[in-house]
Amino acid sequence: MNAPLALLTFTVGLATLVAFLRKEPLAAWLLASGGAGLAAVFVVVIRPDVATSFLGLSVKVPGTWTILGRALVLGEANRLVVGFVYMAAAFLFAGGHVAKPGRLFYAAGLLVVGLVAGSLMVVPFLYAAVFLEGMALVAVLILYPPERPGSRAPLRMVVLYTLGMLTLLTAGWQADLLGAGSVPAEAARTATALAVLGFGLLLAAPPFHLWLPSTAGHSHPYGLAFVILISQAGALFTVFRFFDAYAWLRENALLFLAARWVGMGIAAFAALWALSQRSLARTAAYAVMADTAVILLAFSSMSLGGFELALGLSGARVVSLAVWALGASVLQNGGAGDTADELSGVGYHAPLATATVLVGLFSLAGFPLTAGFPGRWAVMAGGGTAALAVVGTLGAVSLAAVRWTSTVLRSPRDVELPRGSVLERLMLGAGILLCLLLGLFPQLLYPWVVGALSGLAGLSGG
């Protein structure tokens, strides 16, 4: 059996099993987090088409699955990034038992991960757009769980991803007409414009961000974090593959300059909106948008270092957003709510969960000594207007976090929040520690995530 077929069969099989066990949360949790972790290890350890020693056995697994004349390929170009997606999913599933995002979370989450992995393996890579559309459709089950009926916001995500799919397929057709080599920028204008529009739709860049704050206002914070992290990882790598495949795109200096200005615009917009929110989830949603702007600013440097930095930042946000979501979920599950009024003084009733929320939010902002800082520091070290934008974003989103700190430390309200279990306190503490640890020792995370770029010869110059 080839590696892509084995991986996808395992993922879908596990999702089916977990779906049957949805009323047994402990079993579903163990299977989903353990299974995703096992799949990540399989992808990273097993080198397709190369004889590899695995558990004492010499194994050689074919890396190509041909289906209807097209192929799913797991090779050196995408092995690490597929592993990253499964690892991120395993990490998020691990917190699911405490966060309790809904009984469909694990099954739908595994399908989402499988579809994103499919989008990373499919050749030609333009087919990724259809896989990401499928991912957005399955994600509705996570964003709109049966336990939380009442909102229609998740359909906005589907609408925008559908438009993204159609735009990217059209861009791909135009790109195929131009070929992979160097083409004058004027000749590639239509393809470039379509590709940029498609990227904007998939990365939820304003004005295509509408689903993000409206979903944040309704969905479970942990489900929202999962969907954002996994979908954006797939979208970001699709962008990388686009730039890797077409020289006329990655050699267009004007496009990178435009990306820098767009990045600064998004940073200013998201930072100001994050500051003005009275909903914790929406503050985090805009902080994520500001983080996307920083990724775009790193990418706009048009250098290998910048591309690596963009990937590294996307790895750091997994920890920051997951930690925030874990704390926010514990507070919401305990009945604390999401608005500033509801969370006023909550720090005295649930100190550990509140601390987790704040550390996650500061890390999303990129505050020093948290996981989000080293990447921002590297972008700032590059100097120029991008550095100023990063400083501004960091300051504004940190100020929003400071505002939330003062809110949760106001005079305590007369409310009772349930005392968490040992496992809950352990996980919240571990989340805080991880955020701080990766802030102090970024070398634990960055080299591994950045290595995912080595397979893209066009971008890495290999």
Binding site: L68, V140, P149, V158, T162, M165, L169
Partner: protein
């Protein structure tokens, strides 16, 4: 023979356009679902360059989509009680919107895809009408059934145009399967949030 095929294509294109317009103008479940079925059938007729099996598969997908939506309990006839606040969407507004968007979409599609040897008559019209009116439907409502119908119209219109430039069967197979997933998601959302009643009567 070519003239007959061309006329059939043109008729199918405009029937699909009228079905899309009906879905936008009359936001009732009893109109939206049959209109969707007509769109699927007309789109299948216009997939001239696809293998017969795939065309048949698309028609079957259309039938399944409509069956799924028809059997989904939605607490009465779904109407547009969920329109976005502040967006005008009365009958006269929708009628003007359909005319403006429909005609401009056809004009735009004809300027992008000129009928010729590779593109059969009716293909640009159908693609333009379905994408344009589907987008209008998505913009005018937040109700899952109507948004889903709009999305499926957009994908159908895109696919009609895309078959003239892309020959990969696997890709068309994947795109054809997307409406089925959309129907399942719409059904899921309808079950979770049944409509309160028919506001259009």
């Amino acid at each position: 023979m070519t003239t007959v095929a061309g006329a059939a294509g043109l008729i199918a294109a405009w029937v699909a356009g009228c079905a899309c317009a009906a879905g936008v103008l009359v936001p009732r479940r009893s109109v939206v679902i049959p209109a969707l079925l007509i769109q699927f059938i007309c789109a299948a007729i216009l997939f001239s360059s696809l293998p017969t099996a795939l065309v048949f598969a698309y028609a079957v997908v259309g039938a399944c989509v409509c069956a799924i939506l028809a059997v989904t309990p939605a607490g009465g006839d779904v109407a547009e009680e969920s329109r976005p606040a502040g967006v005008p969407s009365g009958m006269s507004f929708r009628l003007v919107g359909v005319l403006l968007v429909g005609l401009s979409s056809v004009a735009l599609a004809r300027s992008v895809m000129e009928p010729g040897l590779a593109i059969a008559p009716g293909v640009p019209d159908a693609a333009g009408l379905m994408i344009g009116l589907g987008l209008l439907q998505v913009g005018l409502s937040e109700e899952p059934l109507r948004v889903g119908a709009g999305l499926m119209a957009m994908i159908g219109g895109f696919e009609i145009g895309y078959t003239t430039v892309e020959t990969a069967i696997a890709l068309h197979g994947l795109i054809i399967g997307v409406p089925l997933l959309i129907a399942l998601v719409v059904a899921y959302l309808l079950v979770l949030s049944p409509a309160k009643g028919d506001a259009s009567t």
